[in-house]
Each structure stands twice: as structure tokens, then as C-alpha cells.
Symmetry: C2
Amino acid sequence: MKCKMCGETAAVSLRSCHAGFCEKCYQIYFRRQVKRGIESRNLFSRDDRILAALSGGKDSLALALELVELGYNVTGLFIDLAIPGSSAKARGITEEFCRAHGLPLIVADLGREGLPIPEVKKLLRRPVCSMCGKIKRYYFNKIAVDGGFDCLATGHNLDDEVSRLFSNTLRWDKAYLSDQGPVLEACPGFARKAKPLWRLTEFETANYAFIRNIPCHSDPCPYSGGASFGVLKNVLQKLESGMPGKKLDFYLGFLDRGREAFAKEQESKADALAPCWECGAPTSSGDICGVCRAKRTLAERRA
Amino acid sequence: MKCKMCGETAAVSLRSCHAGFCEKCYQIYFRRQVKRGIESRNLFSRDDRILAALSGGKDSLALALELVELGYNVTGLFIDLAIPGSSAKARGITEEFCRAHGLPLIVADLGREGLPIPEVKKLLRRPVCSMCGKIKRYYFNKIAVDGGFDCLATGHNLDDEVSRLFSNTLRWDKAYLSDQGPVLEACPGFARKAKPLWRLTEFETANYAFIRNIPCHSDPCPYSGGASFGVLKNVLQKLESGMPGKKLDFYLGFLDRGREAFAKEQESKADALAPCWECGAPTSSGDICGVCRAKRTLAERRA
């Protein structure tokens, strides 16, 4: 197969584009998709101070590299989950990456915050994944708001977005469907959130990370066994393989036509939030938020 | 595996129910699902005159048998597509079935109507399936309206419904999403339509037809190669196998929560229809409907 752009031997073949690319042109293709993702949906501008959530994995480091090279004003944020044998490695890779690319880095250490994930895990009977995600999103938002950043950027790719959309659609969860998309506007207590890689699949990001030689942390989380997102990603992979390009079509159709049908759910969702009595973050609990509650329980157990 | 109801050896295993049934109890299960499908969504009542569309396949004959045994006032309708080697066989099976069960049968012969499907096929460059479906639905509706029937019943099962819902959702086709469901109310020019088997999968209907020894026409249509519904059915099968019961969940969630989000599309759809200048059936074409147009083109070619 030949490169669609220069005619040299292709290194990456993309069925959704019915085309192949050589390593050099693939980087041009990738950058175009990132730029189009940012500009077509007004994710942020060059005047914005952007906080990029970095896990040490391929998606977030690919995101950071693109934003730096595109000339955006970016600061990295790493959440140290304090998981033995995993977090230190991911943190080391992220710190090294930021040093190499001159990227300022903020580290939030859940051990020091009194919320190490292994201890949180012991509080729960179900898998820790959803609580861990909640805690991470809490710190992403808190650090973005407290630090006066204009936008929090995450490395979610098209597969992440489409899995989430598919999951929300299968449940017809109108509240979640009302605000899914590559950008979520700021509102009181919440930073603006953006997903610049939303047009690119996991396969495309992995190829980019490989070609750009990004040293990344690819070990699966030791606590992630049995999460149900796997079934949906497999199902969507089967759909994409039978109908190449369908994943992006489905997501674009949702943004352009579907989402507006759920718009009225937005108001009732915002109405239900009030500040947490402890940290002030918006919560629907009526008193203290789930993160402060976990922190308090762990402190009591230690005492 | 034991029968969930009587403890005898099970003949059918249903993962979505985490249960097995013996042949006798399976028929009780099946009938309960048909009754629940009809009664929970008010499809029709015992006072209604029902026209049941029969293709000679397992779904429509299973439907007819259940409606007859449940004591509904049913008339069968067979559309003879005039496809050599296929239509005569399906017609023979349907006629024999109706004789055996004392069911009155109306036959619409597309050859006599000037619309034999083999000739319609020659008019088109694309597969004839969508036009064939349009012609069948046209006659279903026309015969139900002209004959003063209260409801047209079809043998669509849960897989048919979920495939269609999934296809409409993947395209975010809000007009189609606004009126999908097991019952479509009558409106000027349109008969009420109902799908009493909507709670039962193809697998469940096939088991029922086998156990009830319904002699049915199961050869694939000679013209159906390459239809894209196959990919979606396979994808949904993979979803159901990873998450048993998810197909029915998805459909019920749509009926109970999702569909109302698309309700306002309904009005604009009805506004766009006017009677066909030739046959009077509602059409969005502005002059004559697609079926009359095909009929006219074929007549001109013959002349």
C-alpha cells in the first residue's frame, strides 16, 4: 500500500479513510485531525491557559506533545494514585516527558491528600474504578478552578467518547446524553473541559505514540479487572470493522443532530447541585461530596 | 438444565432469563410474552378486526397462531411478490396454514397489480429490498384502510425492532426515532400498526415455530444478498451475548425514556404529507407516490 499523500510505502493503514500513510505524512494527518478537533468545536484558543491531565499513557502524552508543538500555553497535571508498583512508574515517565518538552507539571499526590487508592479500594465491595475516576475528576476540576486555568484538556479519544455515548444511549440516560461532547462549557464551580483527540481512534493515537517514540506507561491498572466497558468497545470494534468510519459518523451525528433532543435535561441537572459543606465543590449529595466523605471515613479508620 | 416452571428436563435455554423451559412450559412462557406485549402497550383489543400480514415465514405464522388461539378476530394477508421459485412456495404454505386454522386470507398478487418484484428489480441499480419493502407496506396499509380493519399486525420480533432502533440511533434520524415502537396509532390515510411479538427474539420465535410444528417458508429471498442489516444484527448479537437481556433493556428504555425526546419531530413529519394524485395514499413526494410511479414506469415499458 502507498501513502495517500506522498506515494511512498505506507506505514499505517486506516480503513476508515480507505487510505495508507507513511510515517512522516501520518504525523501531518494526525495533527490535522487534532487541529480540526480543536477549531471546529471551539475547544480553546491560543490565549487560554490549558491544564492537561497526564496519566503517563499514550493518549495523554500524545495530547500534550501536540498541544506543545501547536504552540498552546499548557501545564501538565499528574494525579499520583499511590498504587504500589504502578503509580511511581507512571509518575516517573510523566515527569521525564515534561522535563524533556519543557512542560510545567503539577503533581497531586493522593497519598498526601489522605486518599491513596489502595485504601479507598478497601472501603468498597464493588470495583474501585468508578470511585477512582470520581476522585481523579474531582482533582482535575479543583486544580483547574483553583489555579485559574481556562480549560482542562484530557486525552480521551474517539473510542472513549463513542463507548461512553453508546453506553449512555443503551441506557437512554438523558441527563448524561445532554452534555456529552468534545467540550463542556465552564459553569459555577466547574472548569471548562475539552477533549482535543476526539476525532482520533485509540489505534490512531497508538500509532502516533509509536511513530513519535513517546515512552509511555502501558501496563493495565492492577485494579481494573472486570470493568464492563470492554464488552461495549468490542461490540463497537465489530461495528467499525463491518462499516468503516461508522464510529465517527455516530459521534458526529450525535453532536450535530442527536444531542439537542436532550437539551432540556441540562437545566434540571444544574438545579440539583449545591456546594459541598467541606470543600465547596458542587455536589448533588445535599451535604458533603463523595470525595470528602471518603477522605473523612479513611481518616476515622486511621485514628 | 431443568425447566424453570415444572422441573422437568429443559428443551430451550434462554440466557436473557437465566432459565430453561421444557416444551410445554416454553409455550406458556411464549404466550405470556405475547399477551404482555399486546396488553402493556394497548396494541389492540378483542373487539378490533385485525389484519395480520403473513409472509409464510416463522414469525408471521407464529403470530397468526397465537392471535387465533388467544381469540382475536384475525384475517390473514399475503402479498404475492411474483418471484419465481419463491413466492408460489410461500403462498402455498400460507394458504395451507390458514385453511388448517380456519383463518380467512386475503391475497394481493403483485403480478396482477402490474408490480411483479422481478420487473421492479430491473428498474433499479441498487438492491430491490428497500423498494420491495415500500411496496409491501403500501399494500398492507391500503388493504387495511380500504377493508376497514382496526389494526394491521406484523410479525416483527425484538431483533427486528432493536436492529431498526440501533440503525436509526446510529444515524440519529430523529424523524424515524420519533415514531418507532410496538404500536403506531392510526392517522388520516394510515391504519393503526402493531407488532405483538416485540418482546420475543428471533431465537425465541424460531423455537416456538419448531415446538408448535409450524410448517414455514425459511428459504432466504433470492434477491436479498448484500443487505446491510446483517452487520447490525451481528453486532447486537455480540452485545447480547456479553450482556444478556441488553437488547430488551435498550428497547424498553427507548420506549419509556428515549422516544419522548424526539416527539416534536412527529408534527413536522405529518405536515409534509399529501394524498397521491393517483391512488390517494399519503405521500411526501408532492405529486404521485413511489408505488404508483413504479407501476406507471413498468406499464410504459410494457406498452
